[in-house]
Symmetry: C2
Subunit: 207 residues, 2 copies
């Protein structure tokens, strides 16, 4: 029923996943520190050089990127996702969970790493989050697919550094096409970005 | 004429910018190594711990994030941008340059870090790139603004690991509203994602 059955995926063991999650989390802190640091240039250079050796040590044994695995709520999980992946240092990472009625929700706070206009989240980051959330809503609906069209309305700026929520749900299906609506809300519950996406389910063998 | 005059921005010195760019570049390599690594768990734990000390050393002196500076081509430059920022480890980072006719272009190759469906770029990453590129086209046009609406059509999957290009241009303006069209092209020159955005220029004092 899920992509798990369709994709030949390397499976990382649970203990390795936990170790890699902790590592990715540290890389996120490092990433943020790079944007804020004001240490002397020779110290930056020394740290840069030490990072290169850590990267070399990490690269001593390699495997394919994580791919798609079975996750909670019967949903596929992509540990390397740039949006939700615990193993991907560029992901915030967002947790997205489905309600019984099919609404997918996420609560999150973004850092300066995701900044577009000063003090606000980059409009493209909001788009990325909503694309992923609506894709998840299509999957929850039993009609997973690739994004075909995606339309966004930016109602007001989305601030970073404060709690935000996002929600999305399938509104209708027609053959292999599925439409979903969603939005990001600020701490006052006001919509900052609204989106509609249409997904097309590939002609995979459905089970 | 640019945001540079409007935003109170901390200015990093050129030599510090260069050192931080090199650092961010190393963090990008590290980020990719995290997705591929298959070293033993005790080695992952050791590296995780060393990263924490490097982050602590970087955080010994802090300043506000980079903000917006004067850049080349008379355009504002945002070193901390998650799309184009040399100082932001999550940015690929993309270089975007304007043609004399106002078309903004970018040539780039994305890594597994930006993966959505297996072997393809996340649709939200393509959206982020196009939002930024079209915003740049609006700025080049002398009508910088915030994204108001943004509509995408996904024509075919966008592969990572191969050279891609993106291009975008303003098509019309009406009062404070500016429309721009753009697209991402694969190595065969076929459009993978097409987009139209409408930007609204804030009521800043124009100079």
């Amino acid at each position: 029923m899920t992509e798990v059955d369709r994709v030949d995926v390397p499976r990382r063991q649970d203990t390795q996943l936990a170790a890699l999650s902790a590592l990715a989390s540290r890389v996120r802190e490092l990433t943020e520190a790079v944007l804020y640091t004001d240490v002397p240039e020779d110290e930056i250079a020394a740290i840069t050089s030490e990072l290169a050796s850590l990267t070399e040590r990490l690269s001593a044994a390699r495997q394919p990127p994580p791919g798609i695995m079975a996750g909670s709520h019967g949903l596929p999980c992509q540990p390397g996702s740039p949006v939700t992946g615990a193993l991907n240092p560029i992901a915030p990472p967002l947790e997205m969970t489905p309600d019984p009625d099919g609404t997918v929700r996420s609560a999150f706070t973004l850092s300066a790493v995701y900044e577009g206009p000063p003090t606000f989240v980059h409009g493209g980051i909001s788009a990325m989050i909503l694309d992923h959330l609506l894709g998840m809503a299509a999957t929850v609906n039993g009609t997973p697919g690739m994004t075909a069209t995606f339309d966004l309305r930016y109602r007001r700026p989305t601030p970073w550094g404060v709690p935000l929520t996002a929600e999305g749900k399938v509104t209708r299906t027609e053959g292999r096409r599925t439409w979903a609506d969603g939005r990001i809300l600020n701490s006052q519950g006001e919509p900052t970005v609204e989106a509609t996406a249409m997904f097309i389910t590939p002609k995979w063998p459905r089970t």
